[in-house]
Amino acid sequence: MSGAPILEVERIGRIYRRGGIFGGKPFYAVDDVSFTLPETPKVFSIVGESGSGKTTLARMVLRLVEPTDGTIRLMGRPLTGTSKERIDNLEFRRLVQPIFQNPFEAFSAYLPIGTYLIRTALNLKIARSEAEAVEAADAALRSVGLSYERIRGKYIRQFSGGELQRISVARALIPNPKLIVADEPVSMVDASLRMSIVNLFRQIVEEKGVSFIYITHDLSTAYYLSDHVAIMNAGRVVEQGAPGDILAYPSEAYTRELMAAIPTIGARWTELDEIDRHYAHERTRDGKSADKHHQEHS
């Protein structure tokens, strides 16, 4: 092992031009973002709302979008540019694998889902024959609690969202990657199954030594899963650090606003009390708030 960090993101940016045929106004989707994933496997979460730049950032790490500024190095070698060191496509796809948000869109409805796993094994030259590919697929499926036998010949409509996302994870594991970039991987999964997928990620980190970049708008799963959290807003990382520190003691106003907007069970929004106080004299139904109002005035 070289000892180089898995991923070094150094002052990267991505500018789009908005409006106008010649030039137009520059728009920074990602602006001067830096972070490092150490050699030891970790979960690094990037949390932000829509338009924060988190998906553009993920796409740059996945080499689907070229940064307009800065550099990204994977295990010490540049992702982009023309240098001889640059990682070629096959090697890159063996090292870095994506998991997308919507498994119903990631897989075709007209192909048996096993085809994707077999093709991944063959395309990435993990297997030389179909039989070897089935073997590789089966091994990957077993590490997510499934088997090739269970999915053989089946189509996506025969699986639940949770099962499909497990299969997505298995597909990503086929080349034994170093890094998985998961963009909102559980937002389409029902709540009762969501945590089993999140726990599966943690298990993969521990047992397979894979690092994760977990892109999400959901602060609570980020808090639960990650070793390191970065909060993004308007293309910039406004705050980053250990989840316990950042989410328990947010120093940025934006992070506090995000936290206050989560509909948490057990902590009712104070604004609701204000609305109730304002309309309390008109409320006849809700004994509680009417009583409270009376008590305050008696």
Partner: protein
Amino acid sequence: MIKVDNVTVGYGTTAFVKAVDRVNLTINDNEILGIAGESGSGKSTLMRAIYGDFSTGLRIASGTITGRFARNGTGAVTEAESHDFGQLWWDQISYIPQGSMSVLNPLMKVEKQVVDGLPKRERQGNRAELRRRIATFLEGFGLEESVLDAFPHQLSGGMRQRVLVAIAAFVNPRLILADEPTTALDVVVQKKILLMMVEIQRRQRNSLVLVSHDLGVHYQITDRLVVMYQGKIVEAGPTAGIFANPQHEYTQTLIASLPRIDGTRAEARR
């Protein structure tokens, strides 16, 4: 005000697919009722049957849904059965859908879409005065008059959804049905819209039915909660009571499966 009596709802006539199975439910005046459940639980189908929208091949196989609508102030009462609710849309019953882009016409300015949706009694009379009234109503929720002159794509997703909520409330309906109204939105915008809906309900003292898969949303704003699982209501009661002491195993699982920021972390279990 609405009584759902032993109702079974499904799709198709030759091959009937059951989505809601023998459900009993009452929607009271002046309350926010939540319907919780995961995908395939039947919550949206039940909502559509209550709205009386049978255009998608929806069919009530057995049971009845009846409504009794008392107009504010006048004391006039309308009684109807859900197959006739269509006549009450945008008058006594309003609907807030999930995707604001798919219901607003992209080629029409917001003002025209609002006016076209209004019942006849509202549309009669002076157009300029009507616009003034709509603008004043929107301003009451922090929306500027200029949104009326915008095409839907010129507004952000959150802004569009707030406009839809305002349109739904403008006619002062007795019943507002909202199907996952904030699901596609960010939490900060979601909170704004939920607070807006609560304020409307408190002001108009009507009934709001909120369908959401998000238990946190139900905890925040609903007075009573119904939990659906595989087409059946597995638990119903005051929201606070259900969260304090969930009876059904499925509800317990749902509540327990939510990670909390002050709770345990996966990494800490090692």
